[in-house]
Symmetry: C2
Subunit: 221 residues, 2 copies
DNA sequence: TGGCCATAGATTGCACACAATCTTGGAGCG
DNA sequence: CGCTCCAAGATTGTGTGCAATCTATGGCCA
């Protein structure tokens, strides 16, 4: 009954982790043989993983010229955040009446963990925030149970990864961001979609301000 | 200088045409060997085409169990049209100031052709409307030049195909739909984003009403 | 010296063969 | 009679070899 996992799936998630954790620079070339050796499989599952990652928008695929880690211009990032600020609040509002106690508990737990590892001090671990944040937003998508919205979001949520995620946040913005998660959970627990939507809107715009500032600095250099 | 086309690309577009033209029933199994023989290539490019079509949302891919033509429930279709009614008007508004005279001419031409083949009578050809409509909306996406919006839309625009597209339209709805295209071109030519957005909103809602009615009938049977 | 072109190396694209997994039909047991 | 289990056929997953294409280096010519 232990469902076996295919090599493609392992290659897919391994590659996704590597890229999301910044092991490859934005725009870096992803050779098939190199990745195959690194992951211990043949080129075939690597190729399939790359095409799927291209569909997710994490890599760019050029015929006969291989794959590169995707990169976004400032203009494209603006488009991404405009889109997210439309879709994610709506999704959050839809999730509110559908969230079961277990869901709320899971979200609460994630928000608490993020507060923990994000608190300034020697124990702060900005890299640990990345997967937690991904799971928080992913869980909201799951709860909302709106395949169309989920599909639309899937193609754009990865855009900010080249900015090394939370390293771009100043202390005030980071504190706001983590507080937003907690407040969203509170709004869901209160069964108030308008509240949840509003906080999510603020959350996206806060991130937008941070990312665009960082992207502009990066592009200027 | 004649850029060669890979087998994968040919398989991809051929398969997409076959599905979009209703050659396969919704939910039909898509065997790799069968498709490979039909398209005259090996299984390898077929597999890659299938994974890309899965990313587009045209087929559903289950590990070890192959591919099926995607199908949508009434609830999912509602989600799709909610999303489109948000994104496509916005996209249209953004396209207005960016449209060059050649773009307007091309849109005008497509709208005119659709009026032609859609006119009731012996020459009416509802199947010919499908590619024309796709090109019209695709051209708008191109003109708007918003990668994030385009990516978000790409995953959902194919949803209504299982309803055999324009065959589901009653005469009044079809006439409205074709008139919308013409009016959108007029709004773009006038440089009026608000006008264009409004007509596109009406256009999507008109389609929504038709599709949901057809889907409910189909689901009831 | 600067630009163009050819050739060699590297890389992706495709086909095919084999392995792993799923499905289906039927036999055997309770 | 119904359920479980098993085996054979069919289908997908993966590895590997070769062909097609791209890239880079160096020579040639103006």
């Amino acid at each position: 009954m232990t469902r076996t996992v295919t090599s493609t799936e392992r290659a897919l998630s391994a590659l996704r982790e590597l890229i999301l954790h910044g092991q490859f620079a934005a725009g870096a070339r992803l050779g098939e043989v190199e990745l195959a050796e690194r992951l211990g499989v043949s080129r075939t599952p690597v190729r399939e993983a790359l095409t799927r990652l291209a569909a997710e928008g994490l890599v760019e695929l050029v015929p006969n010229r291989g794959a590169r880690v995707a990169s976004w211009s400032v203009a494209e990032l603006e488009g991404v955040f405009d889109l997210r600020s439309t879709l994610e609040p709506r999704l959050t509002g839809l999730a509110v009446p559908r969230a079961r106690p277990a869901d709320v508990a899971a979200l609460d737990d994630l928000a608490a963990q993020m507060l923990e590892v994000g608190r300034p001090g020697p124990a702060q671990d900005l890299d640990a925030l990345v997967p937690l944040n991904r799971r928080f937003h992913g869980l909201l998508v799951e709860i909302a149970d709106q395949p169309a919205l989920a599909a639309a979001l899937a193609g754009v949520v990865h855009a900010p990864i080249q900015l090394r995620n939370f390293h771009a946040y100043d202390e005030a913005s980071l504190h706001r961001s983590l507080a937003h998660h907690v407040e969203i959970v509170a709004a869901i627990r209160a069964g108030d979609p308008t509240w949840a939507q509003a906080v999510m809107t603020a959350h996206i715009h806060n991130a937008r301000a941070v990312m665009l500032r960082a992207a502009r600095e990066q592009e200027a250099s």
